[in-house]
């Protein structure tokens, strides 16, 4: 009975919120108040897949949602990234009938790493896709090793499929925690842009099993690469999907079949390989995957361009060293003169620890073709110190108030970029949209 009341409550509150033009996790919170075991009482479809990892969860989950939808399945997903347990309950509750059956052929759930233990035993999860584990919001998640263990410990009873990045030592070690699960691995082969030494690697130096130093044949980005432990042999997996023949335009092959990634960056190819490994394991035909990748469009969010009275301003999320480095590679590819605003806060959602400013490779934008760097946000001066001490020779400014910082950017004539961290991103977009009116 409780469960049914909870179903009504979610559906009603979600509908009311949608009338107000809002979404979010409130309906989920209400449902859990009424029935704390809500998730474990429902009847799930055959395919319930969790998508997690530090970077790329939203894109990977969105892309997977489209593959499954294009396959003709009724698929539901938290596409906007409401990825905590409450958000997941909101989504599922509002798609559940009075008979407790979730009305979908497949459920794709982007999930925050620390929320995996909160749902994995409650729902009938058929697969967990784990993309990567980087240092992120260090104070909330602890070290990557501790995080890996926490996720791993929650997999003891898991009997579904683990889809693991075989180029990430911590991620690929998750199988060791899950005796009842099956595992398949994905990875990206060596290409022109691969490196033989890692200058950005913070993780993955030691074997998760025996703690000896791992030996890498190449690195693709950050610590992602092919490795083996010289001592216990951990590594060099049999890949279900490994990208090879990687070209500059984002095309690549997996087992000889050609694919093209919606973005040409290597991290995007990793996302694709995760999806290929998983969808092929459940028998989805390659044509559907290829077609979806070709037509995939990025939703508002992590990288977007807003036109402010004829001036395009490209806005990007930076929230941890690995993500920031990939973002800056994108800016580096623009060889014209540029101006950059960096807006950084240290609110709860950002992590209070700002040390990652120094672990990210901001040297990438301390170049002669970057005319102005304007630091803004609650930690504007900490960011300014990063550039001051690392020898940036262009014009360095601090304008703590984001709106004024963006106004200054709009005065300049060079290409305009805005990098904002987690809690700064949405207000920044709102500011730019207002200025564009």
């Amino acid at each position: 009975m409780r469960t049914r009341i909870a179903i009504i409550a979610v559906t009603l509150s979600k509908w009311l919120l949608s009338l107000l033009g809002r979404g979010g996790s409130l309906p989920g919170a209400i449902a859990l108040k009424i029935d704390p075991d809500f998730l474990s009482k429902l009847i799930y479809p055959e395919h319930v897949v969790l998508v997690s990892g530090t970077n790329g969860k939203t894109t990977t989950a969105n892309q997977l949602y489209e593959v499954l939808s294009n396959n003709g399945w009724k698929t539901i997903s938290n596409l906007k990234g409401d990825n905590m347990k409450m958000g997941i309950v909101s989504l599922i509750g509002s798609h559940t009938g009075f008979d407790r059956k979730v009305r979908a052929d497949a459920v794709v759930l982007e999930i925050d790493e620390l929320n995996i233990p909160l749902v994995i035993d409650e729902m009938k999860v058929s697969a967990l896709i784990m993309n990567n584990l980087f240092r992120d919001q260090g104070d909330r998640l602890g070290s990557v090793e501790a995080l890996t263990k926490r996720i791993g410990d929650s997999l003891r009873n898991f009997s579904g499929l683990l889809v693991l990045n075989g180029n990430d030592a911590n991620v690929s070690s998750l199988k060791q925690y899950a005796p009842h699960a099956r595992a398949c691995y994905f990875g990206v082969g060596c290409s022109e842009v691969s490196q033989h030494s890692a200058k950005e690697a913070g993780e993955g130096k030691f074997c998760p099993s025996c703690k000896k130093q791992l030996s890498y044949t190449y690195y693709n980005y950050a610590h992602m690469g092919e490795f083996i432990c010289p001592d216990c042999g951990f590594g060099n997996f049999d890949y279900a999907a490994k990208a090879e023949n990687i070209q500059k335009d984002g095309s690549f092959t997996v087992n000889g079949m050609p694919f093209t990634s919606p973005q040409n960056a290597l991290y995007a190819i990793y996302n694709c390989c995760a999806i290929i490994a998983y969808t092929q394991s459940i028998g989805i035909c390659t044509d559907v995957i290829v077609r979806t990748f070709a037509s995939f469009e990025f939703r508002a969010g992590r990288t977007e361009t807003i036109n402010v009275h004829g001036k395009p301003v490209t806005m990007m999320l930076i929230k941890n060293p690995a993500g920031a480095n990939e973002t800056m590679k994108y800016i580096e590819d623009d060889k014209e003169m540029k101006d950059i605003v960096i807006i950084v806060n240290d609110a709860e959602g950002d992590g209070r620890d700002v040390s990652w400013y120094w672990d990210a490779d901001f040297e990438r934008i301390m170049q002669p073709d970057v005319a102005h760097i304007i630091c803004s946000g609650l930690r504007a001066y900490d960011m300014a110190l990063r550039f001051f001490y690392s020898g940036y020779e262009g014009d360095l400014q601090v304008i703590e108030e984001p709106s004024a910082a963006l106004d200054r950017l709009l005065e300049y004539k060079e290409h305009a970029y805005v990098m904002a961290n987690y809690t700064a991103l949405a207000p920044t977009r709102a500011l730019l949209e207002r200025k564009a009116r």
Partner: protein, 238 residues
């Protein structure tokens, strides 16, 4: 004048802004016409520590990183020799713990390098996370830093300073460890960009062995002061 720095284990878990501390030392030397060289020393690489003015050891290695500790133990004679000859040691987080006597875990006790007598106790209920303020008689400026550590340091006889905000060594009373030519601290983030007075104190102490007492000329510290003010304003509200 020159300052020669050895960065120990630059290749291990280069996180929490270690590189930032080194860039601050380097730039503050350069701005005063002092040459500053940073040499790195990774695992299994050789280095004669007595040849340097300052040895920097950061990272977040713990007692569970057997591979690094094994390498470190083999350097113990060289470290003691360097310490005795007046080389300055700046030990942050992982380096600070490693120089102590041992690591205490729920399930086991692991020997650290044993140069100093304090120990790192991981049998704590909650980690110490947050902004930290420390007052130290060694520097004119209050030290502002960030801590994020799941252990407490016990058995400290000579702390770097008194904690005004945060947990420091874990008891909320003292932070870090100090000897004539050694600073150890739990504060990372990195520590030195926002603490120019502390950075200068370290440079002076490191130069002492070869050049005696050196008076460093003051710098403008524009961004540093502003960054400090922004945080101090917040501390007042809280």
């Amino acid at each position: 004048m020159e300052l020669k720095i050895l960065w120990l284990y630059h290749d291990i878990k280069d996180v929490f802004g270690d590189m930032g501390n080194l860039q601050v030392l380097k730039k503050r030397c350069h701005m005063r016409g002092i040459d500053c060289f940073v040499t790195t020393c990774g695992i299994k690489e050789e280095a004669d520590m007595s040849m340097y003015d300052l040895v920097y050891f950061g990272t977040n290695i713990t007692g569970k990183d057997a591979y690094v500790l094994e390498d470190l133990r083999q350097r113990k004679d060289g470290i003691v020799q360097a310490l005795n000859s007046g080389v300055f040691f700046l030990l942050i987080c992982g380096g600070f713990q490693a120089f102590g006597k041992r690591y205490l875990y729920e399930d086991e006790t692991i020997d650290a390098l044993g140069v100093f007598s304090y120990q790192s106790d991981y049998r704590v209920k909650a980690p110490c996370i947050g902004n930290v303020r420390v007052s130290s008689s060694l520097v004119t400026q209050e030290i502002i830093g960030f801590e994020n550590h799941p252990y407490r340091i016990s058995g400290i006889t000579d702390p770097l300073g008194k904690v005004l905000l945060g947990k420091g060594n874990g008891d909320g009373m003292t932070e870090g460890y100090v000897q004539e030519h050694v600073f150890g601290t739990n504060l990372h983030g990195p520590l030195l960009p926002k603490n120019p007075a502390l950075a200068d104190k370290i440079i002076e102490l490191a130069l002492q062995r070869r050049y005696g007492d050196v008076a460093l000329q003051p710098l403008e510290d524009r961004y540093e002061q502003k960054a400090r003010e922004a945080l101090q304003k917040r501390f007042k509200i809280a």
